[in-house]
């Protein structure tokens, strides 16, 4: 080891990232994933505009295992990015940047995004017999 004692960047392969750092990466990941997911939205709207037959086959796909998997991932990504995005806006306004506050809001972000994902799926299933 060299003898100087300047601070080092964390060695990523032996350093466990704090929760706030992981959420920061996930915010970026969900942003990119949602961007990709806009393709699904465009496709669904075009199917709806394309008439009953096109729409029903789109619905059939989205209601299948693979479609639901995409929708589940998409809904969680959206709600996570939403909750963490609000936290970003609060930071931008200059609040909540103390270490313990960041720790606490990380848990709030996870809780809120989990809760909203759960809620939206409960609603989707409880409106089962036509809307």
């Amino acid at each position: 080891m060299s003898s100087n004692n300047r601070p080092l960047s964390p060695h990523l392969d032996v350093y466990r990232l704090p929760l706030s750092a992981m959420l920061s990466i996930v915010h970026r990941g969900t942003g990119a994933f949602l961007t990709l997911g806009t393709i699904v939205l465009v496709w669904w709207l075009m199917a709806l505009a394309g008439g009953e037959e096109a729409f029903m086959s789109a619905q059939e796909f989205m209601g299948g295992f693979f479609g639901r998997l995409i929708l589940f991932g998409w809904s969680f990504a959206l709600f996570f990015h939403l909750a963490n995005g609000i936290r970003h806006l609060i930071w931008d306004a200059g609040y909540g940047f103390e270490k313990d506050e960041v720790e606490k809001s990380s848990f709030i972000v996870l809780g809120v995004s989990g809760f909203l994902t759960f809620l939206v799926w409960i609603i989707a299933f409880s409106f089962g017999v036509g809307a």
């Binding site: 970026r28 942003g31 990119a32 949602l34 961007t35 806009t38 393709i39 939205l41 465009v42 709207l45 075009m46 709806l48 505009a49 009953e52 729409f55 029903m56 209601g63 809904s75 959206l78 709600f79 939403l82 995005g85 609000i86 970003h88 806006l89 931008d92 909203l116 939206v120 799926w121 609603i123 989707a124 409106f127 089962g128 017999v129 036509g130 809307a131």
Partner: protein
């Protein structure tokens, strides 16, 4: 020997002063997206098992169509701005970076236009 004068070469090498607008537009669209995405996600959840006519009427009603067009505009603008930041951070090669940013902008524009046309068709019932 370059034909550009030393002053001309030095000018304009600083920031383009466009960063603030980019940053601000990312925040404005983010704020707009908070109510729009919550509304849309729960609307789609309620409609998830609806039949064709129900979904068509619901998505195509005047307010709902206007909100979806706003959602599409805000989301695609926000996504294009956000992806640009990601490319700037990770794509080191200048040509590849510019190509990625341009490509994303053009695709987002195309998708946005396609989605808005679809909503307008739904709203006008044709």
């Amino acid at each position: 020997m370059s034909l550009r004068s030393p002053l001309g070469q030095a000018k304009g090498l600083g920031s383009a002063k466009e960063g603030l607008h980019h940053w601000w537009a990312q925040r404005v669209t983010a704020v707009a997206l908070i109510p729009l995405t919550i509304w849309f996600a729960f609307k789609v959840a309620i409609l998830s098992m609806g039949d064709y006519q129900t979904v068509l009427d619901c998505i195509g009603s005047p307010w709902s169509a206007a909100l979806i067009v706003s959602l599409i505009f805000a989301a695609f603008y926000h996504a294009a701005l956000g992806m640009q930041v990601i490319y700037e951070d990770y794509v080191g090669h200048k040509g590849a970076r510019i190509a990625a940013i341009m490509g994303t902008n053009l695709l987002m524009f195309l998708f946005g236009a396609a989605a808005i046309i679809a909503v307008v068709r739904i709203a006008l019932g044709g």
